[in-house]
Subunit: 382 residues, 2 copies
């Protein structure tokens, strides 16, 4: 970090990179985040820490789109990355760079998915992972951190309390600080989400990108990716309109956006079913807000009831089991269409940040229990 | 199915297929199971039902291999497919073909993952999915079937009881029977696992393939894939030695193999933590046994304690959170190395059939709870 307390951001010699980072050149490489090597902070490919990451699919969801009045709605499904969430991108690049720098231990606070991803990649790299998470974090994230070899503690408090414990360990032991935006490489990994989707949209930008915003690093990453491609002359100057989607129980970015502020303030009493966006004050809030203002975007808060309903609806229409954070973006798309902020023909991209499997406790109706000699009733259409 | 009660198997005009199904031709296609279209039962690509499936990674696990005395150990990680398990392959092709045949509803019994996959692909296809599962099936599978839009019932009994209820519905309503091996297309989807791994091993076969064997359709599929490639002259005649890995609490194939039988008998009182291989009598047992005998392979049973230990160990060494079924294959590799059935230098492939996230209830040690003002102890190596 800068001595002033602000995050550092990686910059590249884009002119040099543009010699080999070309549309045709990229298309011939492996469909993996590593194909963007010129614009990643890793110097030596030998330091790559990988579980064989593939491109995540851009899924057209026509049945759902029709229902929402959106003719061209897509979901980028980040739940198919290793560890089941988009956090894998940041961890893949962040841990690889840490290895390159000779790091042999890192510490971080986490609400869940980031810890799971960093634990997995850390162990794969032979780096010791020290993770502190709120006692209230989802059980599945505790399980995956332990199962993938991290040292894990719980704290009787919030992620901010976990952060303080990590900060003390960083000060005392000189352990590498892998907290969000306290090292500049995680965002470089998240950036690959932007490169990927631009390639999948055949080197054009969609009209609207809806992003479930907690720390907001993914949104910042996509924005940075697009800006870099534009600077290299690989992409038109137009930006997609970014939408920061938050939960009504924790909407500091929405509040700041509505007041046209450049920073958010701490959200007291934060709570939502979408645990991954339960971040009362993001360190990179000013970068998220910049992306919203620059792109003519917006910020919107969705209540938990509509989040859960949207999660259910994409399952019933498209067969996709996505996380509530991802579902929030679909509810937001519906609401923004209703307000006519999105036009029916626009290309709309909703980012699903993780698999629904990471929410095993989602409520479902009670199922009918049959005896072995029972019969079931089927309604045939014909 | 055949009127005699045996499964039907799809056959192709391999000579015609070989004109376009070539090593170089394939390499230029999308890295997805759909690239093998000449050897898939779908006639019109417009009937594809897809969530954007990608190749699953072939992950070299050197640290773990070293510990097991295996210099070239690989894990094929099927947990990164849509719905988190290899069942997605069978569902993708099976549901697509069902759609092509004009099916608008199917019924099936399931222990869990197959139901989740077929529910998802069914809904995506606009086909009604009717699923019957044992009350004792994992909660996560009930959740995903419901969340992806299936009609779900529980039965106070085993999967065989669920099967009887489905059979009655098939007889009464003429609904499409999607039970394992009661339609010939699911296995064609599973077959793509074989094509993929052969391509990833650069058109050679590994020495040993370890497969967690419940219904065994995946193993049959890989075997069929290799045989088809050989018949087309695309692959050497050598077979990998197939290893059917079962749990000690449910090992009908192992028992049959040891008695050199060509069919298994029902395993009474089946139980194991590896729910996906808790199949007391597989309809395709004779095909699995044929693959074992033909390839000079073997069958081995692993107790639950060693399954759980192996699951933990790959996490601690490699950072991978795999399912217990997949872990069983690693314990089997260790045991077969110990017996010198596998030599140290051989190329050994363990199939991980699903993500560990589908087992959220795995037991972990109790975690230490800190107060917000606490400190943690970190052991730095330097």
């Amino acid at each position: 970090m800068c001595r002033c307390g602000s995050p550092l951001v990686a910059r590249y010699d884009l002119l040099a990179a543009a010699k080999t980072f070309t549309r045709a050149g990229l298309a011939a490489r492996e469909p993996s985040l590593w194909r963007y090597s010129e614009l990643l902070p890793l110097r030596d490919p030998a330091n790559r820490v990988s579980f064989g990451e593939q491109f995540t699919p851009l899924v057209p969801v026509r049945a759902l789109g029709k229902e929402l009045g959106l003719e061209r709605l897509f979901v980028k499904d980040e739940g198919l990355l290793p560890t089941g969430s988009f956090k894998a991108r940041g961890a893949a690049v962040g841990v690889s760079r840490a290895r390159e720098l000779g790091v042999d231990a890192f510490a971080m606070p986490t609400n869940g998915n980031a810890g799971g991803a960093w634990a997995a990649y850390g162990t794969r790299a032979g780096i010791d992972a020290y993770v502190v998470m709120p006692q209230s974090a989802p059980a599945i994230n505790k399980v995956e951190c332990v199962m993938t070899g991290a040292h894990v503690w719980l704290v009787d408090g919030l992620i901010s309390d976990a952060g303080k414990i990590v900060a003390k360990a960083v000060a005392e032991y000189g352990v590498y600080d892998a907290s969000t935006l306290k090292e500049p490489y995680r965002i470089e990994g998240k950036k690959t989400l932007g490169f990927e989707l631009i390639e999948q949209f055949e080197w054009s930008v969609p009209d609207v990108i809806l992003y479930p915003t907690g720390g907001g690093v993914g949104l910042i990453g996509i924005y940075k990716a697009i800006r870099e491609l534009q600077a290299m002359g690989l992409l038109e100057e137009r930006l997609p309109r970014f939408v920061a989607v938050q939960a009504q129980g924790c909407a500091p970015i929405v509040r700041a956006f509505e007041a046209r502020q450049t920073e958010s303030t701490f959200w007291d009493g934060a709570h939502t079913v979408a645990f991954g966006i339960n971040v009362p004050k993001a360190l990179g809030d000013f970068l998220v807000l910049e992306a919203l203002y620059e792109s003519g975007g917006t910020a919107i808060a969705i209540d938990d009831e509509r989040i859960v309903a949207a999660q259910r609806r994409i399952g019933e229409r498209e067969g996709m089991f996505i996380c509530p954070e991802g579902a929030a973006t679909l509810a937001a798309a519906q609401e923004l269409r209703r307000r006519d902020w999105i036009a029916p023909h626009e290309r709309v991209l909703a980012i699903n940040t993780g698999t629904g499997l990471k929410y095993p406790d989602v409520k479902i109706p009670e199922l009918e229990l049959l005896q072995p000699d029972a019969t079931i009733r089927i309604e045939m259409r014909r």
